[in-house]
């Protein structure tokens, strides 16, 4: 018996709210995402990469945005993390993506944030990575990790 090719099945969808400036709760979404991926039996490599991507995105939302949400989608062939915030938006995404560039205030730097490596880390741990941002509106980031693809 034959059937038409089905689209990649969605194995898991989770939506997490991220509150701005709440450093004590920061990291909880990433920790939860890690737990979900481990529960699905994902490889340690995929779990680590997704965890790093999620943590950096989460910290950026906590430190710099007015809050937003993170959506975790797990499909048969990929893990997707979607970050969307309520502003303020990034005027120059290329500049913000440069290693070492940071607008972190002193108090955040003293806590070890603001190395200017957040977006770089997200990009380097993703197979597909896209940022869209508009000042006054907000920022949307989509990071995709493909399963079963060699990663170096």
């Amino acid at each position: 018996m034959t059937s038409p090719q089905a689209p990649p099945a969605l194995r898991l969808r989770r939506i997490y709210e991220v509150a701005p400036r709440d450093l004590d709760r920061a990291g909880t979404v990433s920790t939860e995402v890690r737990r979900e991926l481990l529960a699905l039996g994902m490889s340690p490599d995929v779990v680590r990469r997704a965890s790093v991507v999620c943590f950096e995105g989460e910290m950026n939302m906590v430190l710099y945005s007015e809050g937003g949400r993170i959506i975790l989608l797990v499909k048969e062939d990929r893990v997707e993390l979607l970050f969307s915030d309520r502003g303020p938006g990034i005027a120059d995404v290329d500049l913000a993506s440069q290693p070492g560039y940071s607008t972190a205030p002193d108090w955040a730097r003293e806590l070890g944030f603001g190395a200017g490596l957040g977006i770089t880390n997200m990009e380097q741990n993703s197979d597909l990575f896209k940022i869209r941002s508009r000042v006054g509106k907000g920022t949307v980031v989509r990071a995709t990790i493909l399963l079963g693809v060699p990663f170096f």
């Binding site: 004590d24 680590r48 965890s51 790093v52 190395a115 490596l117």
Partner: protein, 110 residues
Amino acid sequence: MKLARVVAELGLEALATGDLTREVGGGYCSDLLSDVLAHARPGDLWITHQRHLNVVAVAKLRDLAGVVFARGNRPSPDVVARAAAEGVNLFLSSEPAFEVAGRLHRLLHP
């Protein structure tokens, strides 16, 4: 080398211990969280001066063998509690980071 032996040899004070049978592959010294996420290897012992809650998350997400707070920088009880709940190994050393790193290196690469 097993974490339990590293802890004994370096005279570290255990603050939170999840799994002391973990293998320690190396060490990493940094106070920048993104730097640790990018460059520390799973199984590394992380030596740092940071001592807030996000340190626990970074150690967990990067799958590190544990965290050593150098120069007697003791974290607050809520940090220790979070680590215990997450199964992250936390240790305290009265020595400066340079000494801890040096002794760890000598131990792992005699």
